[in-house]
């Protein structure tokens, strides 16, 4: 059964096709959260709008450990397509309505027609039995046709409390497909289909038609974030620059230039072809350059790599400049590739020939300010940027890339074309959920019952982007006993990763340092309460272990939080590439395979 990206529901214990599903074959409690699988993410917490593109928020993140949408539970509807007989829902009942099978409106085949049985003001609905179980997530799919004269609002609702969810069809005389996820409730409930608003529909009139109805459980411990701005964002963007292939747009500003025109190209060592922008100098006695409009917002104190393609046109000496609180130049000779003046603080200067007079120029800089500009220009000699232009000389530039140094060390392409904040190269760039360090977080839609186990494995592929404030990556319960957590960092201004486990009493914390942000790593926590141990490993190497007492008992039945404690505090500032939580210890080949699996999706080599 396909799960996307070549995964299978027939997990093998070794080899290239190993998947984390293997870790849960014995029914272990937990969760597997994978941002590389778009089928597991929805923009809203009700699961009505899937994540289909980068830079969309995740309001619902499905747990894959039991297969999610690829391993739905048995259908609670029989004859959902109405072809053999009219559809029926387990334990069904009707309210002021009768159901019959009839020719499908505006199409071949048959559909189920729910007709009003009263001319009084009343609700007209088809109810399931009391079959929607507490703590379970259900997917309800189908299509509905509401004729003129039918219900004003076709809805799905909880017939116990009357609350609507995920759907309100008001269109008339057309089939409308629907697919809705209903998140767990604390108690068993009854699905209502139709309209629980009292309204007059003539007796015998079709209130609505339903076809292809299906009601199936989506197994797993799914994560939600109802509050829109608090949702983490699905992203593959690493290059902070904009309009990187076209320096004529509003994202770039000319200084001392007569014109800018996209013309010609250069080929990067990777084979990627980069369009270039011809920048023709004006006749001013000034600097002649192009620079990004406004500022890029970076993280002060962190190291970035800036790179660009610069091609010689008329003059010999060119520069790539990085402006934070000061201006840093990398001057180079476009005839020879030799570097000239390189400002202090600009490290690893590199000038690589791309042929035909084009050069790939790059350097690193620990930025000393958040507001940064990238500038590309040329001069009459090394370190001579201001001169009287002739109105005709030119240079070509393009392929601008500005990213954290750690993002050059994760096996991704060296150049990412970025047109806009939502339109950029994705092939080869690792997908992640980005947590903003202020409000982003998710939590399980129902409590996750770990009370059968006193063992825990947490495995996460992460980039920690800040050490400024304590960040909660994952925690069971809101800072309570019988719980565990992974943090990065553990304290404000600490350079730690941390993991702790608690039984009924004391907590066993391991928080090794220094691993200053930004840092990408596979972090593993292993713990057992009864024979107390709590250990943390980074990139497959155990860093710390404690045998401190954790009290007694097993882990609890609490909500699982990621990104923030209790969806309220200690916001994690960073990315999650993979997250596996397993209510058992993991060892041997399974542990090795799991860490390799996570590492490959995090850009880490173990």
């Amino acid at each position: 059964m396909p799960l996307g990206f070549g995964l299978s529901l027939n997990p093998r214990r070794s080899g290239a096709s190993w998947t984390p599903l293997t870790l849960f074959l014995a029914g272990e409690q937990g969760g597997w959260y994978d941002p590389s699988d778009l089928s597991t993410m929805f923009q809203d917490s009700a699961g009505t709008t899937p994540v289909t593109a980068v830079e969309q928020p995740a309001g619902l993140w499905l747990d894959k450990r039991l297969g999610a949408l690829s391993a739905l539970g048995p259908d609670q509807v029989t004859n959902g397509d109405n072809e053999a007989a009219v559809y029926a829902i387990t334990g069904q009942s009707f309210q002021n309505a009768t159901l019959a099978r009839a020719a499908s409106p505006s199409g071949p085949g048959f559909a189920g027609q729910l007709a009003s049985s009263t001319s009084a003001s009343a609700s007209h609905q088809h109810n399931s039995g009391l079959i929607m179980l507490a703590g379970r997530t259900y997917r309800i799919t189908g299509r509905v046709y509401v004729p003129t004269g039918g219900v004003a609002n076709f809805r799905l609702f909880d017939n116990g409390d009357g609350s609507w969810f995920g759907l309100n069809v008001t269109a008339k005389d057309a089939w409308v497909p629907f697919s809705v996820l209903r998140l767990p409730k604390a108690s068993t409930w009854q699905l209502g289909i139709g309209n629980n608003d009292n309204e007059v529909i003539a007796s015998g009139t079709a209130a609505f038609w339903v076809d292809n109805l299906s009601i199936r459980e989506v197994p797993g411990n799914h994560l939600i974030q109802p509050t829109a701005p608090n949702r983490p964002v699905y992203s593959k963007r690493y290059n902070q620059a904009l309009s990187t292939d076209d320096l004529t747009t509003a994202s770039w500003t000319a200084s001392g230039l007569l014109s800018r025109t996209v013309t010609g190209s250069a080929t990067l060592p990777t084979g990627a072809v980069v369009p270039l922008t011809r920048c023709v100098e004006n006749t001013a006695n000034a600097a002649h350059r192009v620079q990004n409009t406004g500022n890029y917002t970076l993280t002060s104190g962190q190291e970035y790599v800036v790179s660009a393609v610069v091609k010689k046109g008329s003059r010999t000496w060119h520069y790539l400049r990085f402006d934070d609180a000061s201006s840093s130049f990398l001057w180079f000779n476009a005839d020879t590739g030799a570097t000239g003046t390189v400002s202090a603080g600009l490290t690893s200067p590199s000038v690589v020939s791309l042929g035909d007079g084009a050069w790939l120029v790059s350097a690193r800089r620990v930025t000393n300010a958040a507001a940064v500009q990238v500038l590309i220009g040329y001069g009459t000699a090394d370190n001579s940027a201001t001169f009287l232009g002739d109105g005709a000389s030119f240079f070509d530039a393009g392929g601008v890339d500005l990213r954290r140094t750690i993002h050059t060390q994760m096996g991704m392409p060296a150049y990412q074309r970025v047109t806009t904040a939502t339109d950029y190269d994705q092939s080869g760039f690792l997908p992640r959920l980005a947590f903003n360090g202020a409000s982003s977080g998710m939590y399980s839609a129902a409590s996750v019952d770990f009370s059968a186990s006193d063992e825990m494995t947490v495995l996460a592929g992460l980039t920690k982007l800040s050490d400024a404030t304590r960040g909660m990556i994952v925690e069971l319960g809101p800072d309570t006993t019988a719980s565990f957590a992974m943090q990065g960092p553990h304290n404000n201004l600490a350079t730690t990763w941390a993991f702790y486990s608690r039984g009924s009493g004391g907590q066993a914390l391991v928080a090794p340092s220094p691993y200053p942000a930004p840092e990408t790593a596979v972090i593993r926590g292993l713990a057992k309460i009864s024979a107390p141990s709590s250990a943390i490993a980074r990139n497959g190497v155990q860093l710390a272990i404690t045998a401190a007492s954790q009290g007694t008992g097993n882990y609890g039945n609490h909500a699982l939080y990621i990104g923030r404690r209790n969806n309220a505090s200690l916001p994690y500032n960073g990315d999650i590439f993979q997250l596996i939580v397993r209510g058992a210890l993991t060892s041997g080949a399974d542990l090795t395979s799991a860490e390799q699996y996570v590492a490959q999706r995090t850009g880490v080599t173990l």
């Binding site: 917490s45 928020p57 608090n230 202020a438 409000s439 941390a498 916001p571």
Partner: protein, 136 residues
């Protein structure tokens, strides 16, 4: 859902509860729980402002003001005053009656910009108030 837009929204404490109620009323579940980040003039508090930051729906953003930081002036410029009348009408539609002047005062007090929260805080001289939560 059409393209989302990023906003960092900071409201003085005196208007925080009103802003939270309005967002919940106008946006429903997706607006419930906004402005839940405490800000103050020092990391140790006290809390003087509440913040929301992240992606919101464009129709919701369209109701709110929009500000832009002018680096040369060292101050924000208001690009869009927001839709006070529409907010009052929207609130009324969900059963909340508000004087127009109250909403206008809220919109005058809130700072809404398409910028990262770190930048917004720095420009407004604010810090995230640390929770002070103990070990672990």
């Amino acid at each position: 859902m059409s393209a989302w837009v990023h906003r960092t929204m900071i409201v003085p404490q005196a208007f925080r509860s009103l802003a939270q109620q309005l967002c919940a009323g106008l946006a429903g579940l997706s607006g419930t729980g906004m402005f839940d980040v405490d800000l103050g003039t020092t990391p140790s508090g006290p809390t003087t402002h509440g913040m929301s930051t992240g992606l919101i729906q464009p129709q919701f953003a369209g109701l709110m003001p929009l500000d832009k930081w002018d680096a040369d002036a060292g101050a924000y410029t208001r690009l869009d005053p927001g839709q006070a009348t529409a907010i009052v009408a929207g609130a009324a539609a969900v059963g909340v009656t508000l004087p127009l002047a109250t909403v206008q005062a809220l919109l005058a007090a809130v700072r809404v910009a398409d910028e990262p929260w770190q930048q917004a805080q720095q420009q407004q001289g604010l810090h995230m108030v640390q929770s002070g939560e103990g070990m672990p």
